[in-house]
Symmetry: C3
Subunit: 137 residues, 3 copies
């Protein structure tokens, strides 16, 4: 049984940003030498998420606007009484999810035809981390 | 350590449909001979999801209407500029989630008393796939 | 390969309650003797969830109010024709998610600096269970 862990670091220029990370995850799985198993991809900061969906720019804008509609910035959140201003980023992470498990079959990410892995940053412009842990044989 | 993978195929009659798949997943776990471990059940197409909740028809209608309210079809989504018309289906998958991990204990799905596994189709009437990967001993 | 399973029981005083369980999960991982692997934490009742976010009281109130706004109690849900009154609790579980996977590295939960594990009860005042299954070496 093999366990192999790497961390991806992000420091986005904008507060909100969607970063395609399928290739980075595939490279880590390659280095792990695991041929059968799973890889966990999980955002370690509570104002960022990880999800699997389409790499289409229009859809990414739709997702971003949809998150803003359902979990808006700028409301009178109680979290902001602590001096923070990012309660919406916490809610957006809860909405989109903060981790995915990608199956590994025959040494490759076993993704569907349009599935792509994204890091979703909701409170960026600082260094933040994603754990990528491969488990298998 | 055992790894065992099967794929479930769906081709729903309606655009949106909820399909109970607990028995199919249990059968795959049976064929895997795994007695302790986990099984990943993950929708491979980006307009479908997998979730665990109650097998009660009224609730399924409530879930369907709730998804429609929070991620409505027919809005002027930017994804539709590509010729697609299913941006809402992408959002619905993000909302309900696209994968679950079911624990396996003593050779059985270790589900709570009312937990049932569902495939949630949001843009059907075509062949789509779910991966079921069993990992354990 | 080790597999180690425990169940956490909850019987909250209020209908809705958020219970911090990071230490309980860490203790189970300690008892499992697993140094490298993952732990699945999954709510076994369909009106409760498990999520990872901040241990800050104001934010927890924000999360609770946000869930109530997006999945309100008291609407004319079809599930209620069965005699139940908790359709909103089912929807809240779907929204926040019912399970997380925590990576284990060097014998410890490999969480980010602010990540805390929460049990989210949406229809409490009865005994309900969470499975904690550790897998690794």
């Amino acid at each position: 049984m093999r366990f192999y862990t790497e961390y991806l670091w992000f420091n986005t220029k904008k507060r909100c940003e969607f970063v395609l990370i399928t290739n980075e995850v595939a490279d880590i799985v390659g280095r792990s030498k695991v041929k059968e198993g799973i890889v966990l991809v999980s955002a370690m900061h509570i104002t960022a998420g990880v999800y699997v969906n389409d790499a289409e720019d229009g859809l990414i804008k739709d997702i971003s606007e949809w998150l803003e509609k359902l979990a808006p910035a700028g409301l009178a959140y109680q979290h902001h009484l602590t001096g923070e201003d990012n309660a919406d980023a916490h809610l957006k992470r809860l909405l989109i999810g903060h981790q995915v498990i990608i199956p590994i079959t025959n040494g490759k990410l076993d993704l569907g035809p349009w599935e792509q892995i994204y890091y979703a940053e909701f409170d960026g412009q600082r260094r933040k981390r994603v754990i990528v842990k491969v488990i298998g044989e």
